[in-house]
């Protein structure tokens, strides 16, 4: 076991995988930093310090800084993958899928299917997402529900450093295209990471707390909020299953249904906006498949359906807080 930060888990895993498989290459904006400047390369190593030192280890042929051209970055990742490489492309902010969406949506996600299953596109697209740094409307969004909605992509959202390592390994070794979402407010999170070449398969949620009264489903930053709520309620004799989805595509339906069949109560906590969202998707799936087990309606706790505001107190009010999560759990417990 080693203690490391979330961001360290990212860069160390990329380094290990690039070492292990020479086909793995990385491209993105400022992943090296300093190209074409007086200060020289390695000025930053990624703005989230998630590619520090890679340029020095693997050189400019495998760690490629790009101009600000998201479509070209993702498109190049597509071409690299079709040509036999295993590219890891980085979008500095998940919000920038806007300027690269065609390459993700109409190209990478669909190559295998359109070409009759005769090719593979083993690209990993990493991006930093989520609110919590007052980065406001265009730099704080969650995009997992948009991307999960595109058939052909796998979508991964680790919430701990250990999960980053296990899931990123799986992503890089997976022959299908993977969107790897890193919550920017978790980059500094510290955690125990097992040693060795362990991987975490996709579609296998993590049970973070166990209890038999309420099922709480979440991911990313909010997963930690749910853990706090569960611990507080445990002191009152209320037991919560806290399920960390880890991947939204594939989704671990079985874990959710199994848990609800025991507890009969579901609260889904998600950072994306409510309409046409993941939280609603999971609640509907549970209502359809575990209706007989439900003792209360499934509740979706999300931010309101607004862009993300800037001021500190506004962003706090925007995100689902531990108070809101706790109130939701109590509401389903108090259902008559």
């Amino acid at each position: 076991m080693a203690k490391m930060m979330y961001r360290e888990a990212v860069v160390s895993t990329i380094a290990e995988e690039m070492e292990r498989d020479e086909r793995v290459v990385m491209l993105g904006e400022d992943i090296v930093g300093g190209m074409g400047t007086a200060g020289g390369p390695e000025a930053i190593g990624g703005i989230w310090s998630t590619s520090t030192g890679l340029f020095g280890k693997f050189g400019k042929n495998r760690v490629i800084d790009t101009p600000i051209s998201e479509s070209a970055i993702i498109g190049a990742a597509a071409g690299l993958a079709l040509a036999g490489k295993r590219p890891i492309a980085e979008l500095m902010f998940a919000d920038f899928i806007g300027v690269s969406l065609d390459q993700i949506w109409n190209q990478i996600a669909k190559f295998r299917y359109m070409f009759g299953g005769k090719t593979k596109c083993p690209a990993v697209i990493r991006m930093a997402y989520g609110a919590g740094y007052n980065a406001a409307a265009q730099h704080s969004q969650s995009v997992h529900q948009i991307l999960t909605g595109f058939p052909g992509l796998k979508v991964v959202m680790p919430s701990t450093p250990a999960d980053v390592k296990g899931l990123l390994r799986t992503a890089i070794r997976d022959d299908d295209p993977v969107i790897f979402l890193e919550h920017k407010a978790l980059y500094g999170m510290s955690g125990e990471v097992p040693d060795g070449d362990f991987t975490i398969p996709f579609g296998h949620a993590r049970l973070s707390r166990a209890g038999e009264d309420v099922t709480i489903v979440s991911s990313g930053l909010l997963l930690g909020f749910c853990e706090k709520v569960a611990d507080k309620l445990a002191a009152e004799g209320i037991g919560c299953d806290v399920i960390d989805l880890r991947t939204t595509s594939p989704l671990d339906e079985e874990a959710i249904i199994d848990s609800v069949e025991v507890t009969g109560r579901l609260v889904v906590v998600d950072e994306a906006p409510p309409r046409c969202g993941l939280a609603g998707d999971i609640c509907a799936m549970v209502a359809e498949k575990a209706f007989a087990s439900l003792k209360a309606p499934p509740l979706a706790i999300t931010p309101p359906h607004t862009p993300i505001p800037f001021a500190r107190e506004l962003e706090s009010a925007y995100l689902p807080s531990t108070d809101k999560i706790e109130a939701a759990v109590r509401k389903v417990l108090g259902w008559r």
């Binding site: 479509s71 070209a72 190209q107 359109m114």
Partner: protein, 323 residues
């Protein structure tokens, strides 16, 4: 440089196959048997063949929605393509892609593409792969006077220059992007190549209806591109004989324009005139090819009609390798 007899015959055959493939589709589509949108390449054969005759399987090309010509020129199987357009499960893409998404990645054909301009960034990636491997291979992005306006094309050109990717941007200027003329849509009207030049790469220009002009130009371009000096761009002036898509009423054409270009800007006529007058091949040589090609196209259509249809289970197949 002189092409051998075999090379000349081959070049003619390739162009003829493309021409007859497209001409036949034009007829067949009107029966309503073929689903979806089809965009025919007739008139531009010299570009596809003039470029691809230089390429190996390890050189990659990315095409456009008007991709049949590039596919065939790169070596894709005629029967497989015809079946794919017919939607058969024995088609090149098992009926899953259709005309706009025909591909054969193993032959280095990274797909026709339904999104205008999407191919350029993909080609840059493929070129980067070759650069990383240092194997002297290149990638080609075929574009048109339409795609040359897309942001993705500009991003790709700059990215290729900055990363020194051996990517060749080929602009087939057939004067129409959908129903709009190049004089209107492209601010630099008759000069697309200079845009690429402004991004920092060398550019070539040639008559895209003359096979020999295309072939010679590409020899120079590839010499440049294969030596690790970075990307290049070529603008070929050419014509498309049909509409943007099959069913396009083509009201934008001038009076007699279609007849004129089929007469005056027909690469097959020009090729025949060239090789026969230089006594490199005879009319009989070429006529034999004509007949053979027509027979093979006939056979391809028959085979496509009779080929197995896909089943509903095929809808679910091949979204992922593992899930």
């Amino acid at each position: 440089m002189q092409l051998s007899r075999e090379a000349l015959l081959r070049a003619y055959r390739q162009m003829k196959v493309i021409r007859e493939f497209e001409e036949r589709l034009h007829v067949e589509i009107q029966t309503g048997e073929i689903a979806g949108f089809t965009h025919l390449y007739s008139g531009q054969e010299a570009v596809a063949v003039g470029v691809c005759e230089h390429l190996s399987v390890d050189d990659k090309i990315v095409s456009t929605h008007r991709g049949h010509g590039h596919c065939l020129a790169k070596g894709c199987d005629v029967n497989g393509m015809m079946k794919e357009i017919w939607g058969s499960r024995d088609g090149l893409c098992k009926g899953k892609g259709g005309s706009m998404h025909i591909a054969d990645v193993e032959l280095g054909m990274l797909g026709a593409n339904g999104i205008v301009g999407a191919g350029a960034p993909i080609a840059v990636g493929a070129a980067l792969s070759a650069k990383i491997d240092g194997n002297g291979k290149i990638a080609i992005a075929f574009s048109g006077d339409g795609a040359c306006n897309q942001g993705t094309t500009f991003e790709a050109m700059n990215m290729a220059v900055v990363t020194e990717a051996p990517c060749i941007f080929i602009f087939e200027n057939n004067h129409y992007s959908e129903h709009t003329g190049v004089d209107y849509a492209v601010g630099t009207a008759k000069d697309i190549a200079s845009r690429a030049e402004a991004f920092g790469m060398p550019v070539w220009r040639a008559d895209g209806t003359d096979f020999f002009a295309v072939y010679e130009t590409m020899r120079e371009v590839l010499e440049y591109a294969r030596t690790g000096k970075g990307p290049a761009a070529v603008e070929f002036d050419t014509e498309r004989f049909f509409g943007h898509f099959e069913g396009d009423p083509q009201r934008y054409r001038g009076k007699g324009e279609l007849d004129r270009i089929r007469e005056e800007r027909n690469c097959l006529i020009k090729f025949r005139a060239s090789v026969t007058s230089a006594k490199l091949l005879t009319d009989a040589d070429l006529d034999a090819i004509d007949k053979d090609v027509l027979d093979s196209i006939d056979a391809a259509v028959e085979a496509a009609r009779a080929a197995d249809r896909p089943t509903p289970q095929d809808v679910l197949a091949d979204v992922y390798i593992s899930y």
